[in-house]
């Protein structure tokens, strides 16, 4: 469905032909819907929970506690001298946003089938709203993270202002990855568990519970291509002042991320219209 607005009002042309595009213009026109939809996504998650949005913080805190006991106290993982809970949580908050948002984006068409089979709106609103919801949780986690860092003797610094940006980047990366799968997941529902498994593996391929310095140097050129590695490294830089060793892999992985996003957007806009028919 394409829409343009000549002088005599909108004209909609409905054709079978496939059009290439990113679907950004239509989404921008419907930004009001995007806003209200994101708001609903956020408030629907915490309806009828006594602690409400506190859960956004409780869940990762529980996870952190377990990790601190196992990796920090029992295995005594080398964190280059930083207190383990802050070290791990700085990486985990960004990772949780990424992995949850990736799954939410990949499942957005299937999860909203009732809606998209009944009413037309720019479909890109669904994944973007899903990301917005995870980003909201991520910002709450950030607040906890700042408190935790303060408790361990890291007072607020201007560096910490970079944290929301880093978080936003990992959300964008999740959009880039998830969009590739969203349309196909409607038909091939196996994708969801497979993706979940890959994300679990990805968590260990990223220096979250351990420090990247543990990885042997000869693997680093490949290891460093992981865009999430840089997200984690920069969060630690923003929070703890841990130095980031810049390498060409940073720019390479940044480029790959951008291509992933552009590719994801076009794959999504190409195939989302088929989702209703193949469900």
């Amino acid at each position: 469905m394409t829409e343009d607005r000549p002088d005599d009002g909108p004209v909609t042309v409905i054709e079978p032909s496939v059009r290439f595009g990113l679907g950004l213009a239509g989404t921008w026109r419907s930004r009001e819907l995007l806003l209200i939809f994101s708001r609903r996504q956020i408030s629907a998650r915490y309806r009828q929970m006594l602690l409400g949005t506190l859960w956004a913080a409780m869940e990762p805190l529980g996870l952190l506690l377990m990790m601190t006991v196992i990796f920090g106290l029992l295995l005594k993982v080398d964190t280059e001298g930083y207190p383990y809970p802050v070290f791990a949580f700085a990486g985990m908050a960004a990772w949780l946003v990424f992995s949850r948002a990736t799954l939410a984006v990949a499942g957005c068409l299937l999860d909203n089938m009732g809606l998209i089979s009944k009413v037309y709106f720019p479909r890109l609103i669904l994944p973007v709203a899903a990301v917005a919801r995870e980003l909201f949780d991520g910002l709450l986690m950030m607040a906890i993270l700042l408190l935790l860092a303060f408790a361990y003797g890291y007072p607020p610094t201007p560096r910490m202002l970079a944290l929301p940006l880093i978080l936003a980047f990992s959300a964008l990366l999740a959009l880039a990855v998830g969009l590739w799968f969203a349309a196909f997941l409607v038909k091939f529902r196996d994708i969801r568990p497979i993706l979940g498994l890959c994300l679990q593996a990805g968590m260990y391929a990223t220096p979250i519970v351990y420090s990247a310095s543990l990885v042997p140097d000869r693997f680093r050129p490949i290891y460093d291509l992981n865009p999430m590695l840089w997200v984690v490294e920069f969060s630690r830089w923003a929070l703890l002042g841990k130095e980031v060793a810049l390498s060409p892999a940073l720019f390479l992985s940044g480029g790959v991320s951008l291509l992933l996003l552009l590719g994801g957007l076009s794959v999504f806009s190409l195939y989302e219209r088929m989702a209703v028919d193949v469900q």
């Binding site: 469905m1 005599d8 009002g9 909108p10 004209v11 909609t12 042309v13 409905i14 054709e15 079978p16 009001e32 819907l33 209200i36 939809f37 609903r40 408030s43 629907a44 309806r47 009828q48 809606l115 998209i116 089979s117 009944k118 009413v119 037309y120 709106f121 038909k187 091939f188 219209r273 088929m274 209703v276 028919d277």
Partner: protein, 424 residues
Amino acid sequence: MSSERAAIAIEGLGKRYLIPRRDGSRLRAHLKEFLPFAGRDENDYFWALRDLDLEVRPGDVLGIVGKNGSGKSTLLKILSGVTPPTAGRAVLRGKIASLLEVGTGFHPDMTGRENVFMSGALLGIGQAEIRAKFDEIVDFSGIETFIDVPVKRYSSGMYVRLAYAVASMLRSDILILDEVMAVGDVSFREKSQKNIEKLAEEGRTILYVSHNARSVASLCTSGIILDGGRCVFRGTAKDTVTAYLRRVHHYDDAPDMNAAAHDLAAAPRMTHGKHVLRRASTHAPDGTPTNRFRTGGGMLVRIAYEGATVANPYFSVLVQNEFAERVATLHSTHQGGDLRIPANGVVECRTDDLRLGEGAYRLMLDFGSYGGTRAAMVSLDCVPNAIPIRVELGEYVKGIGLDSFQGAAHRSAWRLCDKDTGAA
């Protein structure tokens, strides 16, 4: 914009779905579904809509009728942009809003208020507009007290009323409506029908899908009939309804009002069994053949049958008005006890006070086995349009009279009450 330009112009529109034949193995069918080049042929596809050409002028109210699975919903889905067509093209001029279900985007955990804004946004109504009309919406729905309660606690009627109230705020140039009248109680249905009438008067272009022949006849200006994905009829709303009743209910255009006896051996059936009902005739109470009756008068229906060899047999005479709406049911079990009949014979149904308003009716005749309970009733031979009859009011009710779709005829006495005996 010149006024001649069509609001909706459709050329060769078609939609096919992949439905792999299950001739080979299950695996092969699955492969065909998943892989685009796995030897699909035309037999693996099902055309839900095919070669549709249509022009709708601005201000037209087009009724779309057809049996289930005839492609009505597919057409609306394509035009509202929910699903792409496989072939053809449609050009729509003006702002479009479609209402394919009642309560689009309603979330059970959200309050009525939140859902009004969400649903409005999805239907394309701006937040500022909804805010301005919020009181009107709540007023229309009549659920002021519950507006801040999650909609999952609503009764289904309340839910539908709120959802429809939002939809009634739609003010687009082109409105696509799917069976929206089929919800809510009678008073609410009337309210929504009035709302659609108002929209039509404002000169909006409306596409309206319905099973209800009368609402199409009263709301629409033109109509089309879809059958098996193709448009098989187009014309004025009145002609469309006539043609639809003929196709679905086997109504004939000009029933033979002179013949009082009808041969049913070759008449169209609703059932697929053996033809038990053979001939039927209507008579005045004294036995004279006729098909003109009077409200409050008597009527005899005689049915000749063959091969009625089932347990607990029943016969029934079902009276339908011009829009194929059932207005009366005369059932052989109503007199109590079994009907003891030989395999071949003639049964007579007699009623002494025909409570029908003025107009033309069709008698549907049904034969079957009732098995002791209503649930165990099986229709074995049903002739939908066996005998046409006419009913005149005569002197039974006077004044403004009573039409064939206004319900049963009842005599009533009216007087002014004394103050002290009046209703409290």
